[in-house]
Symmetry: C2
C-alpha cells in the first residue's frame, strides 16, 4: 500500500484481519472495506460477539469440549450413555459426529494428534485425563475416531497401549474404514478398498443400520 | 449444528463471521475456533481495530476517498497536481493506482458505477460533486479510470456528457485499453487486440515511459 494513502486506522484493521488463517492482505482489505459500509452498530455486534466468545467460553473439565459451563451440555446430559467415550482430535470433530445423530455417548477432545514431525508428543494433548476417565471405571467402550492419517494412526496406537494397562473390560474400537457412501469402487484408493474387503460386514448389518 | 452442542456464544460468533462477504458457515466456524485459541488480548486487538476504524474513519469532503481527516492526505498534499483529477469507482482503485506510482494528481471516488440493471442511477453516485469541482475551474484534465465493462462505459459516457457543458478547456481522457503487459498476443481477446491496433502508440512513447 502506498505510504501516503495508508491511514493508520485502515492499515491496522487490514493487518488484524490478515492475521486470521486463510485470509491474505487482499481479502483482508475487502473485508475491511465491507465493514466500512456497514452500520456502526453492526460492526459493534460483530466485534462484541468475538470478544465475548473469547472471554466467556471455557473448556469442559471432563471432555475438554468448548463450553459455557464447567461441564459441557453433552457431559451434563443424563440421557447420554456415560459408559461410551468417543475420542476425537478437536471440537469440529465433535460437531461432525453430533451431526450424524448416530452417537449417543460422551466425547473426549484430545486437542491435537501426536506428530513427531511437528514436535507434538503425548504430553501435549489431553491424554492423561482420558486414561484417568477410564481408570475411574464404568467405561464399557472407547471409540477412537481419529483421522485416517499417519498422525491419527500413531495416536491410535499410543492410546491403545496406554489404555490396555487400565482398560480391564473396556472395549477399544476404531471407526470403520471402507468405501465412502456415494463413491464409485473404481475411484476408491487401493488401501481403502483392500481394508473394506478384509473388514467386510454381513449384508444385513450394513443395510439395516443405515441412517 | 446439533442443537445440544450449539452454545449461544459460539453460534452467535459464527453467525457474525458468516455475515462477511465470501465467508460461509464452515469458514466462519474455522475462524471462530482459531479465535478461541488466540490470547484474549489478541482477540481484543482485532475487535478494537475494526470498531475503531468504523467509528473514526470518515470520507474526504473533496474526493470522497476514505480519510481520518476532513481532507484526505492526497487532497491535502500540496505536492500533488491539483489540476488533474482521476475519476475512479472505489477506494480500492485509488490504492491500485497509487501503487503504480504513475499518477500524481488528485482523485474523485464515485462510490459506484451507473448500472440500470442494478437500479443504480447517476444520482446514486458522487457525480454532482465532480461536476462542481470542474465548474469551480482550474482543472486541466479529468482522467476517467473506470472498469472496461458495460457499467464502466455507461458511466464514462454519462460523465463525458455532463462535463462537456462545463469543461471549457478541460481535457477528458480515459485509460488506454490494449494488450496487458506480460500477456501473449494469441490469448488476448479480439476486442482488446482490435483496440490496441487502432490506438497503437509511437514505439518510443511505450518503451521510454515504462515504469
Amino acid at each position: 500500500m502506498e505510504q501516503e494513502f495508508a491511514t493508520p486506522l485502515l492499515e491496522n484493521a487490514v493487518a488484524e484481519f490478515a492475521k486470521l488463517p486463510g485470509i491474505g492482505r487482499k481479502t483482508a482489505l475487502r473485508l475491511v472495506l465491507y465493514s466500512l459500509k456497514r452500520e456502526p452498530a453492526e460492526v459493534e455486534a460483530f466485534a462484541n460477539a468475538i470478544t465475548k466468545l473469547r472471554n466467556e467460553i471455557t473448556y469442559c473439565r471432563m471432555c475438554h469440549n468448548i463450553s459455557e459451563t464447567e461441564l459441557c451440555p453433552i457431559c451434563a446430559n443424563p440421557a447420554r450413555d456415560a459408559a461410551t467415550i468417543c475420542v476425537v482430535e478437536n471440537v469440529r470433530d465433535v460437531m461432525s459426529i453430533e451431526n450424524t445423530h448416530q452417537f449417543h455417548g460422551l466425547y473426549h477432545v484430545l486437542g491435537g494428534l501426536i506428530s513427531p514431525m511437528d514436535g507434538i508428543g503425548p504430553q501435549d494433548i489431553e491424554l492423561d485425563s482420558l486414561v484417568n476417565r477410564v481408570k475411574a471405571g464404568g467405561i464399557k467402550e472407547v471409540i477412537l475416531a481419529l483421522a485416517a492419517t499417519m498422525e491419527g494412526d500413531t495416536t491410535n496406537f499410543y492410546i491403545f497401549r496406554r489404555l490396555a494397562e487400565h482398560s480391564g473390560s473396556t472395549r477399544i474400537s476404531v471407526l470403520a474404514r471402507g468405501v465412502s457412501v456415494g463413491n464409485e469402487i473404481e475411484y476408491t484408493d487401493e488401501l481403502t478398498l483392500g481394508r473394506s474387503i478384509i473388514n467386510r460386514t454381513p449384508f444385513t448389518d450394513t443395510f439395516q443400520n443405515t441412517p
